[in-house]
Amino acid sequence: MSDSASTSLATAETQNGAAEAIHIEDLHKKFGQLHVLKGVSLSARDGDVVAIIGGSGSGKSTLLRCINCLENPTSGIIRVNGEEIKLKADSHGHTVPADRRQIERIRSKLGMVFQNFNLWSHMTLLENVIEVPVHVLGIKRDAAVATAEALLDRVGLADKRDVYPAFMSGGQQQRGAIARALAIQPRVMLFDEPTSALDPELVGEVLKVIGDLAEEGRTMILVTHEMKFAREVATHVVYLYNGLVEEEGPPEQIFGAPKSDRLKQFISNIH
């Protein structure tokens, strides 16, 4: 990725020909008086693994959640696969998606993995994985089950297909949640601190699954506290501080030769 340092200015097509999967420009988010994002730009092309790092309260989760409008940005531009999310102001002056069908269509192409797994508790693992393909994407049940079984096998949960989430460990639930995200054949995978709610001994199994996905060239945006992991899998690292991109670049540069004092301090505190 020769030009990853300038991705914030990237357009839909870049030098190496990979299409731009996610494009964020001058994104602001306010919660009442609290200004969480103060003009963040970010770009991910197909095959990129973008790791977003930063201290608690830096706005990194909010940034990720704005991509599929789980949080509605206050202002800014978000493009997914080159399609700009249409936003409008509602009667209270809040920005909301203008077209419900558009945002639902875009969301169904983004595989979100949450910090707290958020598997649906009234469904077995298999039912969780086929739910969106069958009911949102309209795939035939047989085909969806076949895909789901292959995915569960891949994340090492083939024997848990008929188990309810409450009866699985956190690591198993998160791997199941990754299978659920993969089942929609997502254009981009969004990870929101996928290992932060796990016991330390369960973190490894989840990171391994995510690492394999990165290796096969999946486009991913990953909010994480696992610096070592970010350094290994990311193609581009963004360091957020106080709602702004303080520094970004390839992992070797961010972790090996940080420029800003805040990033230097952040990295030395982690290690």
């Binding site: 969301r107 169904s108 958020n118």
Partner: protein, 215 residues
């Protein structure tokens, strides 16, 4: 029985709609529902039944007359069902509202994140996920519905209690007939309990048993 089933069924529909309105509706909808649930739950059922039955049919006939139609006789069964459903709906609104609030927010967020439409989210995620929290409250409502039918005797509708009174009055065997009526209500409750127990177990299939942890 028909009345209880009908009233409970429609009450559930009103309750689901009401709970949704209260949680996600605009300020006007919320205020109207607040007035509805407060008044209906504050006024004794008997008064409501008299009010809705007599005032309600009167109102319907006045509207009909004003529009140039002939007066109609309101079918006692239909009126009974609607009056009780109106009452049940207010209680069901609160039961279901509480149950929806008990569903972990993350599961609803996940449904949103995967592009479900609001209708599908309700059908596939919110309702099945809130069911285990709603069953105990709804089971109470069902049992109350079966017994509230007795109140309809006051508006001349012949159901179990009314029939019993007539039969007992004619034969003077008050004790026998009222014991029999009581036994019938009890039998209905026992059968209901078995069915509710099954539904509850099914709705809690994804939840670890609490009983095991208390030992």
């Amino acid at each position: 029985m028909q009345i209880a089933v009908g009233a409970f069924g429609f009450g559930l529909l009103i309750g689901t709609g009401g709970a949704y309105g209260k949680l996600y509706g605009g300020p006007v909808v919320r205020d109207l529902l607040e007035v509805y649930t407060t008044i209906v739950r504050a006024v004794p059922e008997l008064v409501l039944i008299l009010l809705l039955y007599f005032a309600g049919t009167d109102l319907i006939n006045r509207v009909l007359e004003a529009m140039g139609y002939a007066r109609i006789d309101v079918n006692g069964l239909v009126a009974g069902i609607w009056v009780l459903a109106f009452v049940q709906g207010a209680y069901a609104t609160e039961v279901i509202r509480g149950a929806i609030l008990s569903v972990p927010a993350g599961q609803i967020e996940a449904a949103r994140a995967y592009g479900m439409s609001p209708g599908m989210m309700l059908r596939r995620i919110t309702l099945p996920a809130m069911l285990p929290f709603a069953i105990p409250g709804l089971a109470n409502l069902w049992l109350i519905a079966t017994k509230d039918t007795a109140l309809l005797a006051i508006v001349g509708f012949s159901e179990l209690t009314q029939e019993t009174r007539t039969a007992a009055g004619q034969t003077k065997a008050y004790f026998t007939f009222f014991m029999a009526a009581g036994a019938l209500y009890l039998a209905l409750t026992l059968v209901s309990n078995v069915i509710i127990g099954r539904i509850e177990r099914w709705s809690r299939r994804g939840m670890p048993s609490v009983a095991g942890g208390a030992q």
